[in-house]
Amino acid sequence: MSKHRCYIQGSAAISAQPTFDGDFFSAPLTTTSANNLVAMEPDYKAFIPPNSLRRMSRMLKMGLTTALKAVQNSGQPSPDVIITGTGKGSLSDTEKFIRDIEAYKESALNPTPFIQSTYNSVNGLIALQQKSTGYNNTFVHRGFSFENALLDSLLQLAEGNVQRTLTGAFEEMTAEHFYIKSRIGFWKEATIGNAALFEHNTPGSISGEGSTFFLLGNDKTPHAEAVITGMKMLYKPSAEALNKALPQFLQKHDIQPGDIDLVITGRNGDINTDHYYRVLFSAHCPHTPEVPFKQLCGEHDTAGAFAVWLAAQILKRRALPAILQPYVSHLPKTFRRVLIYNHFIGEQHTFFLLERV
């Protein structure tokens, strides 16, 4: 798939920022004083019939709605293929079922939380709503969940047997799971909020959640937003392997560091893992403007999907959103090509390369 060009024909994102139906490019940063960025949920009734809505938990509504909006935004027919990624699926359903088992002593249990805790339940619902009877898959691998979903999509588009794939990611954070992760140091000990994410040189980050979907295809359609030209996943790479991988990745796509107009990084304020970004870019593209994104959406397994969405919007608008401008000393001269580098807790590392249409 080295030379394959995959068009983002439409997209949608629900996040802690007004990305779903607000004016994200001019909006100020939506802040939280807690270490937990909560998604801004739209009115689901506009997307899902009431009889379907009544049983759905929050994650299902969020995932399904984002998926439907992405298809809508593309102006294209239903997708042939649906592939998603989620690190944790519907946590609130999983937690509810565990609690019900205990509370009702394993008898007379409602099946709904069990069904919805299944990681591919969102996918099944999207297929049902879109009447998509093709390939349907769900990847559940932390920082490689969305990434494998995207790779699977890119490969299938390159095969040429499918026209359009719907590819996305969804993640939710619950109070219970936030506490669980706090017990193993995922979050900053001091409550700092997202506006000050990079001002504390301490371990941990702040949590987030959200849902991001893309309608991908081989053709340049009227609403096409950007082109995904490459991606590379690296599992627990050594410093040396990582240092070699970036120039190899660029070379494989016939570009020089100078061809990159903007770098988007997954910096999350964690002093234990932010060095990866610093080391890599100071070595390979020290002069390229760089912006972080996790102050917008929080850290979560599928934050990489939000970064791809952000890059696509920047390339489409050929502008940097106001809330990101303070991070660069000079604005990029052109918006032709964006490189994303994100890793999740230092284990799953990914490069994405996007170009303007």
Binding site: P50, N51, S107, A108, N110, P111
Partner: protein, 85 residues
């Protein structure tokens, strides 16, 4: 019987989260599944949970369940038949 049916309707609305439905909207004899309220097989499982939790009646066989859960009337009759007079 009438009191039981009203109670049952309220419980059904709550258990299945039928937000815009009121007890008086549900006809005693209207089919709960398919045409009527538009419920499906997962709702039928939820209603069996309702019977077990609220009335202490266990429905083991899903085929039997379908008959019992046909309408509010049939549910109420079933409940009454299981309760000591």
């Amino acid at each position: 019987m009438e009191a039981l049916k009203l109670k049952l309707k309220e419980q059904i609305i709550e258990a299945l989260n039928l937000q815009d439905t009121k007890p008086e909207d549900i006809d005693d004899n209207a089919p709960l599944f398919g045409e009527g309220l538009g419920l499906d097989s997962i709702d039928s499982l939820e209603l069996m949970v309702l019977l077990e939790r609220q009335y202490g009646i266990k429905v083991e066989d899903p085929r039997e369940g379908r008959k019992i859960l046909a309408s509010v009337q049939s549910m109420a009759e079933f409940i009454q038949s299981k309760q000591p007079a």
